[in-house]
Amino acid sequence: MTQSARMAPEFTFVCPLPNGFHARPASHLANVANDFISESVLTNLRNGSVANIKSVLSIIAADIRWNDECSVRVHGSDEQVASSALRRFVGKDLPAFDEPLTNVLPDPTTGRLPRSLRSAGLKAYFGLPVSRGIARGRAVVLRTIEIQSEPLGRNGLEPIRESERVKQSVAATLSRIRGKLQGHVSGIEAGILQAHLAILGDVSFMNKLLERVEQGHSAARAVMDAGEFFSDLLRKSENPYTRERALDIQDICLELLEDVQGPRSSSSVELKEPSTIIAENLTPQQLLALDRKWISALVLESAGTTSHTVILARSLGIPTLVGAKNIGELAPGQDVLVDANRGFLLPESTDVVRRFYEREAKTLERRRAALASYAMRPAVTSDGRVLEVAANVSSAEELTTVFQNGADGIGLFRTEMLFLGREAAPSEEEQFQVYVEAVRAANGKPLILRTIDVGGDKPLPYLNLPQERNPFLGYRGVRMYPEHQELPEAQLRAILRASAFGAIQLMVPMVSAVDEILWIKARIAQVQEDLSSRSISFDRSMRVGMMIEVPSVAFILDQLGRELDFFSIGTNDLSQYFLAVDRDNSRVAGLSNAKHPGFLSFLRQIVAGVHKHRKWIGMCGDMAADLRNLPLLVGLGLDEISVPATEIPIVKERIARLTVPDCQKLLFEATRCQSVSAVESFLDRESNEASRSLLDRELVLLDGEIDSKEEAIRDIVDALYVQGRTDEPDRLEEAIWTRESIYSTGLGHGFAIPHCKTEVVNASSIGILKLPRPIDWGALDGEPVEFVILLAAREPDSNGAHLRVFSKLARSLMNEEFREQLLEAQDREAVLSQLNQQFEGTG
């Protein structure tokens, strides 16, 4: 240790983060250190790891866990100021970086097959589904690329020459990545490339490379060693997100290796038919190197759910399972089926499997068609009120799927995703391209762009925003626009220019006072003037609105209504501010609930206040995404709700069964409830879905291809699913079989009456299946069954009238004459009329 190092400022701290020092706090600490010339070194006193604080990788690699004591030493010309800045950061800002513990994922290996497959005694490999879909393909087993297995090159080389080779290949790789970024890449791919740039630019990474060549190793060997070193360190982290960054390191090292050694001959696998890719793990580039056209599914042994490979697979729509054990034993070339809706791989295709998935494909298609009939039309209540159902998105790429799902517009385009996770803000031109792409995809439908909403919780490295104790009450959204004018200005210009191409509306986040709106409007006017003077076209009547997130604005709607064209309620923030609950604090998070009766009254007041000015009001928070809230939202009289795209068809289907007066009454009653739980049980009890009739035409099945009791039950369950009477057919099937296991519901004389009481049906239902060929049911009289009546009673409400119908029907089945009439009924109408005669006078 040198003289000056001993005199250098030094301090210790204890890591206050229950989840350890993961990527996010590490990058902030590195930002602080990089503001100074001095070198700062951190030592984790638990494990002796030493880290260069200017390097994110190095900090992460020190594996600093909760309560670890660390010492920090600063050395250099500005060491005093640097030391106090670092000290301030760890003492004051660091505790704010705590994150709720990552949800414990279910252990995929304890998964179950659906009941009707289970009885066939099949072998299955369970995994956690991270991208949905069902696909069949030949197993292609990819070996994990071990960096060590690459040819090493000679040692004892000239360090200067080798270090030049390292520097050149880093520079070449950097410019290759930057080049790719300028070309046509998806937002997801761009995010991955940005992360790779950060690693290549990390000072520890470069130091490690140079250290190895100085020791006389070849450039190739240095890359392998550095790769191994950092991926090892990352893999040891307690933070799952950090662990999965190890793949990115490998990816980069493989790319660097190609640069110093030339391309590897064995690196790419050529796919020639639908293939299920099976691997211990895969880097993002390895996945991209495969021909997408032939990838039917991806199954990984590694359990990571947030690796870039997984994110990429999801964006490419590849059905994907992770954490699958023992898949290495699968034979290459074997035909396998991957069910990434449920989470398993079946290695053999038996007749039962084939029939199950043929039925499943038909069922999913029928459900899709049933929903599509609602999705592609405006959502209208049964008494004729139209409600726009729009989608929330974060990138232009999502829009095509969103509109295929039937979105009436985009209720919230979160533009900040363009700004996050990069070295510099996107230029006006880059933004303009994105907004134009979005508005073209919207094809005349309204597109609400929310201007940049960042702050303490979503920091941008290039803005140098201060760390805050309580970022949600801090410097964020519109509040930071005046100080960072260049940011909103470039964005306003890009948005206004794009407005010439379609129905763009601009929405301002985090408004708490009229001044902020006046400021934005003045900027808009300025930009308009400038664009006009340059003869650049834009939409002069572009609508301007704001998010309602801060409770204060609910009381100045008169003033705001005069200035703005529209409003959209962000329920997540509005409820947390209204109820004084930090949603990230697990001790109080339970108190944050949009179904608080006081919050419901508040919403009613807001909608009325906006409508008084004949202005439009929508809702784009999580409250709108919960189907159980739909009657409340219709009751509120909102003009639009914006929901995740996949929910749109079912939201429209449910709206079609509601009426406005019923919903208004329900909302009024809910605002008078004692508590959140009282509102919830009230909504459950009064569920409009539950009041659907027990039986309809579509639930009478007369021409099924049924071979077994399993198939018979599944057939009726599927019909309930297609009609939207259950959203969880597997669980309904399971409930029926649980009852069946007590003793057979085959009651004799060719009749069976499988039944259950369950929370997984939205409405109590009767399903009828008349079998073309009698099947064994294990009936009480040993006779085969040819007529099945399935009863599913909804819990908790168990509507008395519905139960009376069930009991009446059960009694009638003891009557021989009735049974014979049912057996003789030739078509749906005849069956329905027989049953309805029995129900008359009941409920």
Binding site: R739, T745, L747, D781, A810, L813
Partner: protein, 99 residues
């Protein structure tokens, strides 16, 4: 003969009522007078009163689960059968009473 009965099954939405219907029909065919209390998802229906029970020669419990108010039947001759017997072998139950 005056008979009382109670039917109850695990889910209480089907077999409770099927058994009740079978017991009523068979009793009528055999010339007995019967009153059947059902304990199902709808709660207790057609409840047996104290005098119903006092006047009965025998009580049939066609049940798969524990029932409510079992103590009402103190001192009454009880025939307890699994519920499915009341559906498939109803006559046999009545034969046991007469035999």
């Amino acid at each position: 003969m005056r008979i009382v009965a109670v039917t109850a099954c695990p889910t209480g939405i089907a077999h409770t009522y099927m058994a009740a219907a079978r017991l009523e029909k068979t009793a009528k065919d055999l010339g007995h007078e019967i009153k059947v209390e059902t304990q199902g998802a709808l709660g207790i229906e057609n409840a047996l009163s104290e005098s119903d029970i006092r006047q009965a020669k025998v009580a049939i419990f066609a049940v798969d689960i524990g029932i409510e108010g079992r103590d009402r039947f103190k001192g009454v001759h009880i025939i307890e059968v699994p519920l499915r017997e009341a559906i498939t072998n109803t006559r046999a139950i009545f034969e046991r009473i007469q035999g």
